[in-house]
């Protein structure tokens, strides 16, 4: 079974089999899109909510506003149907809670942005393990759509 690692800002996909994994989700949000009928899975690792003019070469998966549409396109390319797609989320934590650099932490801003863009495209979020103050590892099993989330010192949780 092939395991593909999805780095910050990347988008990877698979059909029928394989594991899409992203390690070290801090303030970033890991998004797993799945069409259970055709077993198409796409994973993204979103870094910030909005793309910016001073980073024109950025891969679309880096920002929520460009990443979500890009992920949907990729799913459709592999044969998924928009109406059947659902999403599972992990991450968006605040690892330095006592710093409070802005009223809403970057992690929470990412969660809000991802949810907003998914909603805009009519994709429901069926489960999530987000916020808090710890890092997460997310594994997406494309064969059955199962997503497990692990944090240091905690048992893996299926979402």
């Amino acid at each position: 079974m092939t395991e593909v690692f999805v780095n910050m800002g990347e988008i990877s996909s698979s059909k029928n089999q394989g594991i899409l994994t992203t390690v070290g989700l801090g303030s970033c949000v890991g998004v797993a899109l799945y069409d259970p009928q055709v077993k198409v899975g796409v994973m993204g690792h979103i870094f910030l909510p909005q793309s910016r003019p001073n980073d024109p070469q950025a891969p679309p998966g880096k920002y929520a506003d460009t990443g979500i549409p890009a992920m949907i396109e990729e799913a459709v390319r592999l044969g998924a149907s928009r109406s059947r797609l659902h999403a599972k989320l992990a991450g968006g934590a605040n690892l330095f809670p006592n710093l409070s650099m802005s009223s809403t932490s970057i992690g929470q801003q990412n969660i809000n942005a991802v949810v907003e863009h998914l909603k805009k495209h009519g994709i429901p979020v069926v489960s999530q393990d987000v916020a808090g103050s710890h890092g997460r590892k997310m594994r997406f099993f494309v064969e059955n759509g199962v997503v497990t989330v692990t944090a240091i010192g905690k048992d893996p949780v299926e979402i």
């Binding site: 070290g24 910030l48 910016r52 690892l95 710093l99 992690g107 103050s133």
Partner: protein
């Protein structure tokens, strides 16, 4: 352009880490503490977590916001093993625990490290650089790195200064990220006679 910027940051790193290491060795009360010349690298930000030994490796990270004449952020990251060595040397406890006191000691170590670094730069430039109360995270390298980068709003490359220490026969590693806001970095560069970087 990039080389000049890197060289300049290396220069700042030499001064800053020298000062910080003196402070650190003082805290460790006369333990032999040598600094191996810091090595500065410019990394595409996606590689940063791998730089320290893999995104899943546990690291200790201190993160502060800088205010004053130079605004920005600063972080000091260490693989957990290195942090535990420092903790052992600092507390005299053979197997130090990461309980509240242990975390507090690590926080203080990191705080003195980054503040001494800023003090050195401040003396050189006559610019005020005020550190905030530090944040401490002990977690997967990937998670800590991206939280630091997102917090500092760094979207492209990041300059990492890798420093290696030797204390009491043990090898310790530490990584410093000095992340001034763009305009303020220019301010500092100009003071050194360097034009637009």
């Amino acid at each position: 352009m990039k080389e000049a910027r890197l060289d300049f940051l290396r220069e700042l790193a030499n001064i800053g880490t020298g000062h910080a290491t003196t402070a650190l060795s003082q805290m460790l009360n006369g333990r032999l503490f040598q600094l191996v010349v810091p090595d500065a690298q410019m990394l595409p930000f996606t590689e940063a977590a791998e730089y320290m030994g893999g995104a899943e490796q546990v690291v200790v990270g201190i993160f502060i916001v800088i205010s004053g004449d130079v605004k920005g952020h600063m972080a000091f990251l260490q693989p957990l093993e290195s942090a535990l060595v420092l903790l052992r040397l600092l507390t005299g406890i053979e197997q130090p625990e990461l309980d509240e006191l242990g975390r507090s000691a690590l926080q203080e170590l990191g705080n003195i490290m980054v503040t001494s670094y800023l003090n050195a730069l401040s003396t050189m430039t006559n610019l005020l650089m005020v550190p905030s109360v530090p944040g401490l995270a002990i977690d997967m390298a990937g998670a800590v790195w991206e939280s630091v980068l997102a917090g500092a709003q760094v979207t492209d490359e990041v300059t990492v200064i890798r420093t290696r220490f030797s204390a009491d026969g043990e090898d310790i590693e530490g990584h410093i990220l000095f992340l001034p806001d763009h305009e303020d970095f220019e301010k500092v560069a100009r003071l050194f006679g360097l034009g637009e970087l």
